[in-house]
């Protein structure tokens, strides 16, 4: 099964991060903030509607990042407040859900995670918060739970790209833009995550190297 993404991008060598940088700066220049007051009000309503539509997806991403439901609640709330405050920075014609995801991610990275680390609270194990209670133990569900746990057990940097690329089905380029990292970094994180997942998915196989 091949996981298809939105479009086929040109060759992207992991060793040439400059490629993604140039693409990104071109994109970001499109995101010119509008200052017109009427547009701001229209935007605020549009953002509010978009938030309402994507709340559960944002929450799911927040759970993937934080491993904790209550932190996810707070993270989504902070994302809503921030998005509404910055409604006039949203560029029309771009994907609103991607913009919201990137706001949530930057709040997580810059505010929530660092604060929690400083407070020394640490993080709970993936199993503690993500067990699908009340779900029937059919074979499918057991397998789904197993996949979920394996992804959640990956280091944060890896599970984030796996989630965005394979669950949210973003292209590599979109993942790179959302996380504000070079596309080569997306590729190397996915490769490392895939090698780990493959090793546990096929217990009979030995992890070798092609190089």
């Amino acid at each position: 099964m091949t996981i298809q993404s939105g479009f086929i991008m040109p060759v992207a060598y992991p060793t040439v991060p400059a490629y993604s940088q140039s693409k990104r700066s071109k994109q970001s220049s499109d995101r010119v903030a509008r200052s017109d007051a009427e547009a701001t009000i229209a935007n605020e309503q549009e953002i509010r509607a978009g938030l309402s539509q994507h709340l559960t997806r944002l929450w799911r991403y927040a759970v993937v990042l934080s491993h904790q439901r209550d932190v996810a609640d707070d993270l989504v709330q902070a994302t809503c407040v921030r998005a509404l405050e910055r409604a006039n920075q949203f560029a029309h014609g771009t994907r609103l859900d991607r913009w919201l995801f990137s706001i949530l991610h930057s709040i997580w990275l810059n505010e929530v995670r660092s604060r929690r680390v400083r407070m020394g609270q640490g993080f709970v194990d993936a199993d503690e918060t993500l067990v699908f209670d009340g779900q029937r133990d059919t074979e499918t569900h057991v397998f789904a739970n197993q996949v979920l746990r394996q992804v959640q057990a990956l280091p944060e940097a890896q599970r984030t790209v796996v989630f965005l690329a394979y669950v949210e089905e973003l292209s590599y380029r979109e993942v790179a833009d959302l996380l504000d990292i070079p596309i080569g970094t997306v590729m190397s994180r996915l490769a490392a995550a895939r090698a780990k997942l493959a090793a546990s998915a096929g217990p009979g196989r030995q992890e070798g190297s092609a190089q």
């Binding site: 099964m1 605020e44 490769a191």
Partner: protein, 267 residues
């Protein structure tokens, strides 16, 4: 194998990008060629392909786990951001500071203002913190925020029932009706992780008015009055809840309405 980029072309990164359909046609052909000619590369691809897992299926149930209603009411409770408000009507932080200075000038005791600011900075020590937050919220409300259209009585009853059940109070339109004011809606907000019920009205002058309730175990307290963000507040507590009524009407009118609420809720 003569390809100078052999290592780069057969790296895990490239093979995973191949599996993900992220390579352009030319690179894809080159990688395919190497897979066909180099058994080690083919084996590695086979190994990596074992990680083609049903990720979407695994994570989709999490969407149903999301507290959708709670998130929606949280979103509904976020007032329009300050920059959007016309400066004439809106009370932004600068406005709040100006008001604080104004209060001092008209003779509000300095120590009281100071205490108020302190509790804002150092947490909810005397129970006034939530009132400060509610007041700031309410200062952003206009008549339009609450809607000027006809009200749906059945919807209001349902909203009140829901808010009441979350707070542990029996709330009905009759019990929260205020003389001269029209009930607009009831919704749940959150303050510091605690449920905060907000019942909004338009007063006789069509200005926003709200009864807010949080669960509180700080003990019963008789009604007291204060002024926040240019509005009049009457607040009191029962053994189980803290209440505040906030609006633009005169202190006496707000006090009279709060008496009516205390009576009808028997608190």
């Amino acid at each position: 194998m003569t390809d100078p980029n052999h290592n780069a072309m057969t790296s895990d990164e490239m093979l995973v990008a191949y599996l993900d359909g992220e390579l352009d046609a030319d690179t894809r052909r080159r990688v395919e060629g190497l897979i066909g000619s180099d058994e080690a590369v083919a084996d590695r691809l086979h190994f990596l392909a074992a990680s083609n897992l049903p990720f979407k299926n695994a994570f989709d149930p999490l969407l149903d786990k999301a507290p959708a209603e709670k998130l929606q009411s949280m979103l509904a409770g976020i007032s329009p951001p300050e920059p959007v408000r016309p400066p004439v009507n809106g009370w932004n932080r600068r406005g709040f500071l100006a008001a604080a200075i104004g209060f001092i000038a008209v003779g509000v005791a300095v120590d009281r203002t100071f205490l108020g600011l302190q509790s804002g900075l150092h947490g909810d020590q005397d129970g006034s913190d939530w009132r400060a937050v509610v007041a700031q919220y309410m200062s952003l409300y206009t008549r339009d925020t609450l809607g000027t259209g006809p009200v749906d009585a059945a919807l209001q009853s349902a909203q009140l029932r829901d808010v009441g059940s979350q707070l542990g109070l029996a709330l009905t339109p009759d019990r929260v009706q205020l003389p001269g004011a029209s009930l607009k809606r009831a919704q749940m907000l959150a303050y510091d992780g605690r449920a905060l019920g907000q019942i909004t009205y338009l007063d006789a002058a069509q200005a926003p008015l709200a009864l807010c309730i949080v669960q509180s175990s700080k003990g019963a307290k008789a009604a007291d009055a204060e002024r926040r963000h240019g509005m009049n507040v009457v607040y009191w507590s029962s053994d189980t809840h803290a209440f505040m009524l906030i609006g633009h009407e005169s202190p006496d009118a707000i006090k009279a309405m709060s008496d009516r609420i205390r009576q009808s809720l028997a608190i």
